[in-house]
């Protein structure tokens, strides 16, 4: 199920302590790679990799300004985690055929 996949991706992305700290920082304010590198004392490639993972999970967005890329995180990235309604709506709609198949197989 797609919702579950999105959820697992988010959990995976936030499971790493450094990535979590980066994410937390980006919720508070917009940052550049160099800004984050200075702040977290990890290499620039490592920060870039963390940002890529966070972006792939839909948690972080980028805004380009000249040669600089500015990263930020908004609460909308966490929406899949709250989407029980979408999850169950799909779930219940998807069960009708299986229910019918069970009924077909029932003895009188």
């Amino acid at each position: 199920m797609q919702t579950v996949m999105r959820q697992n991706e988010i959990f995976r992305a936030l499971g790493d302590p450094t990535r979590r700290a980066v994410y937390e920082r980006l919720i508070l304010r917009e940052e550049t790679v160099s800004g984050l590198t200075a702040r977290f004392e990890v290499s620039q490639p490592a920060i870039s990799q963390h940002l890529k993972t966070l972006r792939d999970a839909g948690l972080v967005t980028v805004r380009r300004e000249g040669r600089e890329a500015h990263y930020r995180a908004g609460p909308e990235g966490l929406k899949p985690l709250f989407d029980w309604v979408a999850h169950y709506e799909k779930f219940w709609r998807g069960r009708e055929a299986r229910l019918k198949a069970v009924l077909e197989g029932l003895e009188e």
């Binding site: 959990f11 499971g15 920082r25 508070l28 069960r95 009708e96 029932l106």
Partner: protein, 150 residues
Amino acid sequence: MTSTIATKTITVEYDLPFPPAKVWRVLTEPKLLEAWLMPNDIAPVVGHKFTMRTKPMGNWDGVVHCEVLVVEPNKRLAYSWKGGAADNPAYGQPLDTVLTLTLTEKPGGTLLLLEHSGFTDQNEFAFTAMSGGWKSHGGGRMKEVLGGLN
């Protein structure tokens, strides 16, 4: 925190070419229910507590805790449906819902109305958890919440 939290209900209708008595069996016999839904130990007795087992999600073990609330043979069945990661209030919102199944006989079969109610309004929930929590407590609340993720 606001005192009233809006909730949502999911409504799905199954049009089944089988009599209500047969549909009732598929809703109340553990083996039959498992065949189309998930492993369970249901019994159509008011007050009976049972579980449903589904795929774990994030911090949640995938166990749905249920208690039978209404039993009207061949007509209506309702039970609570609770789950989610309760230790993780803002991530993987806990579920505290009710599933009501209403059977209506019709020529040649049964109309099964499935109502899954009590979902907390997501936007309001997200708003409370995110804006309020994050803005007033800075990263502290966030850390606390995320701490439960491992």
